[in-house]
Symmetry: D2
Subunit: 303 residues, 4 copies
């Protein structure tokens, strides 16, 4: 396949189920809502250790927020349900509750919610020390918890979907600058698709991995040597074509497959508009690990 004169490899992204929460962080002003969302999102890049993944999906208008204030949608995900339950609450406890004027509301579409996390009996409810109460906001049951600057409001239940992680594609460019600009262009395009999030800082991953290690066999994940241009001459399995000198990977997580496919499509199309991009491919493990295969061919054919 070719798109804008760029080769698209006939391969697939190998994705995995992921439990995902989706909620709105509001504040008195847009900048405080954003400061809180960034803190709560932090340390949320895909990796084999730590507190799961997170990404700011988009700005919400005041009409969309139950308290009629500016806000952002944060998506928080983990492959383990129990871990998600723990870290979603921790992200709110550390990133939102301490931040001036903030509140939290569920943003999970009803039809996607598979289960709920209850704020009851978590460190967030306990923070209230009995002074908290349940009030109603636009038909929602909401904790009203005293805080030094007034009250922190948080919806009683936060919906969790069984979504997908690991949608991805790789951008192979003739130089670092080209791959980076193409990745940035792709990230801007993906930002406009609802129900997906990108966990990486700035949306771009330099540290693609392979499962396990060749030399360090005890490692869970190590550098994706086949896609390191600097190892082209040292790795027999190199997948770096002639003329390619840098690769970046774009990850797309989301609440459902169709949104991820749409996001991959617009991202790939946007990346191929940048002069110097040589090839687009996707990361997979031959289908041995993830049970959700997303062929690039199918992705590019959707409307």
């Amino acid at each position: 396949m070719r798109l804008n004169n760029v080769e698209i490899e006939d391969t697939f992204a190998e994705a995995f189920p992921m439990y995902i929460g989706r909620f709105i962080i509001t504040a008195s002003t847009r900048r405080w809502a954003l400061a809180s969302a960034q803190e709560a999102k932090g340390l949320g890049v895909s990796a084999t250790l730590g507190p799961g993944e997170a990404g700011i999906e988009r700005e919400v208008t005041r009409d969309e927020a139950p308290d009629n204030r500016p806000g952002y949608i944060l998506d928080v995900g983990h492959r383990q349900r129990k871990e998600l339950n723990y870290w979603l609450i921790a992200r709110i406890r550390k990133g939102v509750l301490p931040t001036p004027t903030t509140s939290v509301f569920d943003a999970m579409p009803k039809e996607m919610a598979q289960y709920s996390i209850e704020v009851k009996d978590t460190p967030i409810q306990l923070f209230g020390d009995g002074f908290e109460e349940i009030v109603e906001r636009k038909g929602r049951a909401v904790y009203k918890i005293p805080r030094m600057d007034g009250f922190f409001f948080i919806e009683k239940k936060l919906g969790i979907a069984r979504g997908i992680a690991g949608g991805n594609f790789l951008i192979l460019g003739e130089s670092q600058a080209v791959s980076l600009m193409a990745a940035e262009v792709a990230v801007d395009a993906i930002k406009e698709i609802p129900y997906v999030f990108n966990p990486c800082a700035g949306g771009i991953a330099a540290s693609g991995t392979k499962v396990g290690g060749r030399k360090y066999t005890e490692a869970i994940a190590t550098t994706n040597d086949a896609y390191c241009a600097s190892l082209r001459d040292r790795v027999k399995e190199t997948k770096i074509p002639s003329g390619v000198n840098c690769v970046y990977e774009i990850f797309v997580n989301g609440l459902n497959l169709s949104s991820i496919e749409k996001a991959m499509k617009v991202g790939i199309e946007a990346a191929t508009t940048v002069a110097g991009v040589k090839k687009i491919t996707a990361g997979n493990y031959g289908g041995t690990l993830g049970n959700i295969l997303i062929p690039l061919k199918k992705v590019l054919e959707i409307n």
Copy 2:
């Protein structure tokens, strides 16, 4: 005591020892260095759960960085040495290694380093899968690790100081807007003091806590009801004077006591310049918990 006609309570901040790492994150461009520092800093607000504390201390000039690139100093802390060792590596693994063009160098002043974290045998070195090598940069031993966009450089040893957490003061204002503006003014002032960092999103904490709970006795920390204006009439021990309606807390962690004191001083002075601030005090537990007492009186007398 009074300063700019604002009452300064004759009390003290109660602080604690904290292990702290301090390193530079560089990148090809300043904006990528900042994106990485923000991700690595994330989820780093003081709380009783999660991955410790972190804060961006300041921008560094290209001359200050061993690779002559733009960068930021990140401070990462934890009260438990073992936990710090784990989370400092995790913050770099998740916040820096994946981010385009980044590298990491130690920024701990020699005279403050108490011990070092070795990158050897961590997931960061293992990421190299044997392709990594040790090179020299301005007299420093540095890992050079292949990554899809080139190489990730990270100094072999990252120095750890026995610093201090919990320097703090409370701003009591006649309205939320007043306390928030005073807090923002204080944060701007504190940013100019070296060797300190502020873990909160935007530098300001709304969710002051007391140790344990009145009602929820099993809780580790609950709302600081004595400083909640909304609970003024329900809490006998309220410390909200007449005319005060909102309180924010500013935390200051740092490598040494004198830097924290300096930061508290400039922060308090700045806060008192904002009209409508009624009182400055500090958070403590009567000296029962922390072993480092920082009297506001002493702080304001330093030059």
Copy 3:
């Protein structure tokens, strides 16, 4: 009138006709589109001298832009038609044409366009030195002008509306912090209303004026002493009620009256949610200057 327990004075904003252009600035990446829009917007605050008024209205999605790239809508206005013709071209020539990867497309709704500015024979077309050509983009005639980084595209005609300037309201608060926070909250709310723009830096004006001067009678506009709390005791005509210590003004320009009224409504409503706001009023000259009177009462009654 009272709203959220804040007095709304029964008065009116006195507004004026203004010629307004509205166009999209696109670029390869969202951040370059924004950098260009900010430069082109600059020096665009209402005043009695200089290059007219300008404001970034909002972000556009890639679908909205004829070149399918990220962009921002910029509104540019002047009370004199000839001056607008000159400065609109100058803003593009200085703020957009030099900025990497940018292009410009008309964003004036057909039904509002009263006349067009032709790019032909302006310094922008002349820049092409004969190498420029006219091409078609989604049914629009567009100049394609060679530039060192490729081509600058600009739509051949940019529509101009006969809009309105000087929609406004004043926020009277008990402290500077209160008035400033209320103004920021109002600006966030107004940002969501289409077809309006706010020319001030950060959307907030500290320097309200009266027409002419008491002492400096030759001056065109001087400080609005009646609304300076610091002059309360020196100015007989003071309009500063007891308990008020700071005033900020929010200006709203727009393509039509109904959009300005909607923006004023949401801005005033938002401002009154901030504790410490004492009164909302509007700036007028008794109806002697502007021919468009916007009563606050009417504004608050619209849906």
Copy 4:
């Protein structure tokens, strides 16, 4: 000459005298100081029409500002003394005076000041309408002018230097992405040099010009066709080497020649570190227009 394996053409930048003002904009918070500086800087890109050039030089610490507040240094320049006098005042009148909590102080080093602009009798003083007074701040005479949010302070005299405009270099890269990244890297480096400023949005110029026009002989400046890769086959005088597809120009204005040379040096050095950069040259008119010639060879030899 070669640097980092990039060809440096043995040519010179052709520069011109420019009158330059340099002042500090302070505000209660750093973000308001920045918002004001950006507005006052706007519409300040080099071009043959409009309100001169301007650039934010750097952040100042609170100690550097006479009012002990956060701030930014703004440089404002024009080749005509009378025009500078007009537009410097206009930039402050429109970009600073209206912006919440701001003040202005001279930042011209004594030894560089050639003359002063007096605020007396300008629209800024007249704004005070007789309520203004002269006060003293750290040994400086300062106007204190009532404004709706308190007082606007502005130093009575603002020093003007006879500086230089038009320091520049051109980055020729194999792709748009390469030239753009190299330009961004150069801009980051130049930002660290004192006494210089860069008037372009984001610091990068895509619209290099030649004097006059080939076809449009009446034009003052038209596209620099010799450096347009898209015109390579249509322009006999093309200076686009094989393998080059995009050119960006970096301008450096400054208070004195040595600062400009230093800035050009660090900028060029930084640009050549980006893979894919093919050549660095500089813009000149054969020495026929500007009387200050800055050879690249000399620039690269300084320490």
